[in-house]
């Protein structure tokens, strides 16, 4: 019995970080109707930045989160402000294909750029708390996973309240619902897009530092994470923070349980199959709202 409880906890802990990555994707998808195909590759970049800072300066990864999220916010903001906004302006379709192509190119550029620069060897860090466990009965909880989970959860909830309560958050949600009417209400759409995309990439930056203490990073992990985030966004319904949080936890649990009962590969396949099924039967997500 305890082995199942152990898997459940492990799944929840990794799922919390998945959720944070996916919330960013979901926000961009909800507000700008664009899919950032390079989400996972930007995560990989953030992990490498964290790795580099940790090995060079010995700063704790949990302190690096401030830096990575700020830097990645800037990258996201600039990318949207200078490049993506111009591509979007030309598009008439509701779901711009050219942004998808552009970010697919960006992803390819980043992952293979890292491959060319640092090679294909995976790297990981050893911190003071690496391998530390908290024992509760038969259950062992990895300390870094727990810390990362808690920070991820706090940040996701903070984003939720920011979107619900703050003036800026309300403006972002209004733009997501109907960009034309939001513009008529005096909301600066360009600024909202910049900030929304900045937040989206900042969450990826944050997650990169959170994953580093217990996750091995190599140039190729981006695609996997991109896809997991897509799955989570589809499960949760685009634009929904709570949905993405639930989706992230669900995917984490499926992975761990699938790995326990079958094998890791089958668990991965299970995630993709569930994804296709949800797309087909509940295209607005398990808790998504109906399209307007």
């Amino acid at each position: 019995m305890s082995i199942y409880l152990q898997s459940l906890i492990d799944g929840l802990l990794i799922g919390g970080v998945y959720a944070t990555i996916a919330v960013g994707l979901s926000l961009a998808f909800g507000v700008m109707r664009i899919i950032n195909w390079a989400q996972g590759e930007l995560l990989m970049i953030s992990m490498f930045i964290s790795y580099w800072i940790f090995t060079k300066f010995g700063i704790d990864p949990y302190l690096i989160i401030f830096l990575t999220s700020a830097v990645m916010f800037g990258i996201g903001y600039l990318l949207q402000n200078t490049v993506l906004s111009n591509i979007l302006a030309r598009e008439t379709a509701r779901e711009p294909v050219s942004v998808l192509l552009f970010t697919a190119g960006l992803g390819m550029f980043l992952s293979n750029g890292v491959l060319a620069l640092v090679g294909s060897n995976p790297v990981s860090v050893i911190t003071r708390y690496s391998g530390k466990m908290i024992q509760a009965g038969d259950i062992y909880i990895s300390l870094p996973k727990l810390i990362s989970f808690v920070i991820a959860l706090i940040c996701t909830l903070a984003l939720y309240f920011f979107l619900q309560k703050s003036e800026m958050g309300r403006a972002i949600r209004a733009t997501a619902q109907n960009r034309r009417i939001a513009t008529l209400m005096g909301i600066n759409q360009k600024k909202i897009y910049n900030i929304a995309f900045g937040i989206s990439i900042a969450l990826v930056g944050l997650s990169g530092s959170l994953l580093l203490p217990y996750y091995t990073v190599s140039y190729s992990i981006g695609a996997t994470f991109s896809f997991k985030s897509f799955v989570i966004v589809v499960l949760g319904g685009k634009g929904s923070v709570v949905g993405a949080l639930a989706g992230g936890l669900i995917v984490g649990i499926i992975e761990k349980f699938g790995g326990l009962i079958f094998s890791d590969t089958y668990a991965q396949m299970g995630v993709f199959i569930i994804f296709v099924l949800v797309l087909l039967f509940k295209p607005n997500g398990l808790m998504g709202e109906k399209e307007m």
Binding site: F29, I35, V83, N86, I87, R90, A93, R94, E95, V97, S98, L100, L101, F102, A104, G105, L106, G107, M108, F109, L110, S111, N112, G113, L115, A116, S120, Y219, A223, F227, F230, V231, V234, S263, T265, Y266, Q268, M269, F272, I273, F275, V276, L279, L280, P283
Partner: protein
């Protein structure tokens, strides 16, 4: 361009491509051209569903892999000629495209793209984790080596590269002809209409689902044949080579850079970009792996930013303008 001029260009191209192996004796150099033709062929196949019909399929690599695996398994274990095997593989690929399409063509835009990638991953992981598939030993990640059974056309095995060159040249010419035929036929106009406005097309009485399925099956069949050829050419199949996500993106990328929905665009982009991989490897050696993909990614970003319709539509428009001003 006048009709006569077009035939002259066509003649030059035909003479050049047929006599090429006589001019190029270095097998390594010939491999450049084989790669170019293979990717031009694959991008042309993708263009039918992704360009003409505008369905952003990102998992076309799955058909490539199916073609490669079916013909190879039948050749290795049943001693069946790859020529027969590749038709069977194409049939399997078309059938899967049909099943997939029935389910996923209802989805819009990005969701459709995502579902094609999901199916690619499911099949890749399935092959990767299975030692046996349908009773045949496929050995998971290790893959299968194609045994040498002596030079013969029936075995599609040759000592030199010249024969392979002619085979892929024939594939390419036939593929281009199919693409041209679709584009200029009634089907091409229907697909273009679907690409522009699906709802309006449907309301005019066009069977949108049927058209998309037809385009998808043709595209899958062509891609699978390319996979079979590739497996015979490199004499092995494994999931990372023939079922990779990068391969799928690469196929799509040539068409997107050259010009989606044009006949010549994907071909031109493949001719320009496909040799880059071999070229960089020749210059830098294998130590700098992934460098060509860095350039491909960069090229895609630049093209989408500056000329989103692709190279060929842009160039042909500029040529027309120049002619107009010269008169």
């Amino acid at each position: 361009m006048s009709r006569n001029k077009k035939w002259i260009w066509f003649g030059i191209g035909a003479v050049f491509s047929i006599t090429l192996p006589m001019m190029v004796s270095n097998p390594y150099a010939l491999q450049f051209f084989i790669n170019m033709l293979l990717f031009a062929y694959l991008a042309t196949g993708w263009n039918i569903i992704g360009g003409y019909a505008g369905q952003m399929a990102l998992g076309n690599g799955v058909y490539f892999g199916i073609g490669a695996y079916v013909s190879t398994v039948l050749f290795v274990y049943e001693n069946l000629s790859p020529w027969v095997g590749m038709v069977l593989g194409g049939g399997v690929a078309a059938f899967i495209a049909l099943l997939m399409g029935r389910m996923t063509f209802r989805l819009s835009g990005s969701y459709f793209s995502l579902s094609t990638v999901a199916v690619l991953h499911v099949i890749r992981l399935f092959v990767l984790s299975s030692n046996r598939l349908f009773g045949y030993e496929t050995r998971g990640a290790q893959g299968i080596y194609v045994p040498w059974r002596g030079q013969s056309f029936l075995n599609m095995q040759f000592e030199g590269k010249t024969e392979y060159y002619y085979i892929i040249l024939a594939f390419f010419v036939i593929g281009l002809f199919i693409s041209w035929w679709i584009k200029t036929s009634r089907m091409g106009y229907y697909l273009a209409a679907i690409n522009t406005n699906q709802e309006a097309t449907s309301s005019l009485g066009v069977n949108v689902m049927g058209m998309k399925l037809k385009a998808s099956c043709i595209s899958a069949f062509m891609t699978a044949l390319g996979g079979s050829f590739y497996a015979q050419f490199i004499m092995m199949v494994d999931p990372s080579r023939v079922l990779g996500y990068d391969l799928s993106v690469q196929i799509m990328l040539y068409a997107a850079i050259g010009g989606r929905g044009t006949l010549a665009g994907p071909v031109i982009a493949a001719f320009l970009l496909a040799p880059l991989n071999d070229l960089l490897r020749a210059v830098f050696g294998t130590t700098v792996s992934g460098l060509s993909l860095v350039f491909y990614g960069l090229a895609l970003m630049l093209i989408i930013y500056f000329i989103p319709q692709g190279i060929w539509p842009y160039v042909s428009e500029k040529l027309k303008e120049m002619k107009g001003s010269a008169k």
